[in-house]
Amino acid sequence: MIPEIQQLAYILATVLFIFSLHWMNDPKTARRSVMAGAVAMLVAILATWIDPHIVHHGWIILAIVIGLVVGVPLSRVPLTAVPQRTALSHAFGGAAAGLVGTAKYFLWLGEGPENLTTFRMVAIVAEIILGYLTFTGSLMAAGKLQEVRWIPQRPVVYPFQNVINIGLLVVAIVLGALLVMYPAEPWSGMAFLAIIGLSLIFGVLFIIPIGGADMPTVISILNSYAGLSAVAMGFVLDNKLLIIAGALDGSSGLILSIIMCKAMNRSFANVLFGAFGQVKAAVAKGEQKVYKQESIEGAAQFLEQANSVVIIPGYGMAVAQAQHRTRELYDQLTKRGITVKFAIHPVAGRMPGHMNVLLAEADIPYSALVEIDEINADMPQCDVALVVGANDVVNPAARHDKSTPIYGMPIIDADRAKMVLAIKRSKNPGFAGIDNELYFKDNTWMLFGDAKAVIGDLAKQLSGGGMGH
């Protein structure tokens, strides 16, 4: 009877998981997603727990309690820390898969080597390699994103790096193949541990050469690995639900990383093995051209006289936490009957959908957020394009200058607007480490300073100015 109930529960969970992801296709239904997902998870847990083989309930409860204690605070992190958190949870996921795989192997090795069928061994090896490399890899990624002191932000490169990395992986896989053929020899346990070790090391070396700002892409790739390790676990335990949920997770990671690479016009290979961030150091120097600055008052006037304003937020807005001030500015302008739109570039910020979340946090209606193609169409009619801490995503060089690393990346055509106001702190380049000719165009005026402060002043000026007249 119980196995039937369990399977039924797993089918239910499957259906709920699929709907959960399906409902994410529209913000209106999205809230349901979480409900569906959570219910599915609960059902699955309970269905598993009633298994008569389970006797040590204390252990389970303990682990769950600790999980809760750690999990809740992890969900309270500021939105700017979401990428790190995501990376961290991939690390946890990878670890879980790896550990279960390890436990299962040694269990069967001890209690019944005949259970170590070729098929299971393949699954186990896949599970641990993927699991453990995801573990360390994601930890590194989290570290880089959190800008932890002792983890180098810049790509660390050394000769034959890629060869060495791939080499490591190959060795691990070869060992795995051996293990598949001789699962229960005296030396098998050792080999197994060796594979674990190699995977852990590979995870680290795999991330080191990748620049901190490329982490988001890496994260979603690791995301799909975490999913695949879950699939492998499903094969090991002959558990369909694991396979399905893992496959769903895997495809999500895959698709997100593809989207990011497309939007950056870069290949997986370039992200993973290109040591991209380096370019920065190289190009960053040598800026002769002159910036035209503008005062808060002047800028406020320009905005006041405009009919249509397009605000182009970028990573800088996230860093400065300027979304709430931006909201105030938005209110001031709309109050004057000025149409204000936000131009959202797919890779503005440091993770997909980054800007959307921040602006949503500041209660800006998502009907005001416009995607790149749409906004570029009416850019020529735009009176003022206000660039808030965005750089690469508005760099016209992407359109014509083959030499720049961002060549070919679709950009928001701020330069086609009647005039441009750009907010940034310094003359430093953006993520891609290249000059932005937009800042030197005749109809571009700079507002140097921290985005939060500048926008705040603009808003105050307008509210004040508004009364003045």
Partner: protein
């Protein structure tokens, strides 16, 4: 190999590799697996490929689930890509199912310890994943 790995991107080839691996495995293990799970009446019934029932269903499930995954995710609103990441996080923590079994069953303590850690990790992901997703989604307002 390396070329291929690079151009097509690790991310995209991994699934292929996995599947390939599994299939080779199956051919290597054809007989043992058969021996373990074939059943008299199944073997007697042509059309119901007895010996294979062990792992083939899982491959079918994997294939179908991947199709669904790609189909559904491709249609997720761009607005929600950040919440999507944390949601799939939480979902993939379904590994909890495996961890529970390993932790709670009557196995040697050391093994159960591994399971316990895995269980803790999974629960953490479930809790934080769903909570933060909900927190983000609550922010999205139409007007």
């Amino acid at each position: 190999m390396r070329r291929f790995l690079f151009n097509s991107g690790l991310g995209r080839v991994i699934p292929v590799i996995i599947l390939a691996a599994c299939l080779t495995a199956i051919f290597l293990s054809a007989s043992p697996a058969g021996a373990q799970s074939g059943t008299a009446q199944e073997a007697a019934t042509p059309g119901s490929h007895g010996p294979a029932t062990d792992y083939w269903p899982m491959l079918f499930v994997l294939i179908l689930a991947s199709f669904i995954g790609l189909g559904v995710i491709r249609r997720v609103s761009r607005l929600l890509h950040t919440p999507l990441m944390s949601l799939t996080n939480a979902i993939s923590a379904i590994a909890v199912v495996g961890s529970i079994v390993v932790t709670g069953a009557d196995y040697p303590p050391l093994i159960r310890l591994l399971g316990g850690i895995a269980l803790f990790a999974s629960v953490t992901n479930i809790v934080s994943g769903f909570l933060i997703t909900d927190r983000m989604l609550r922010m999205f307002k139409k007007q």
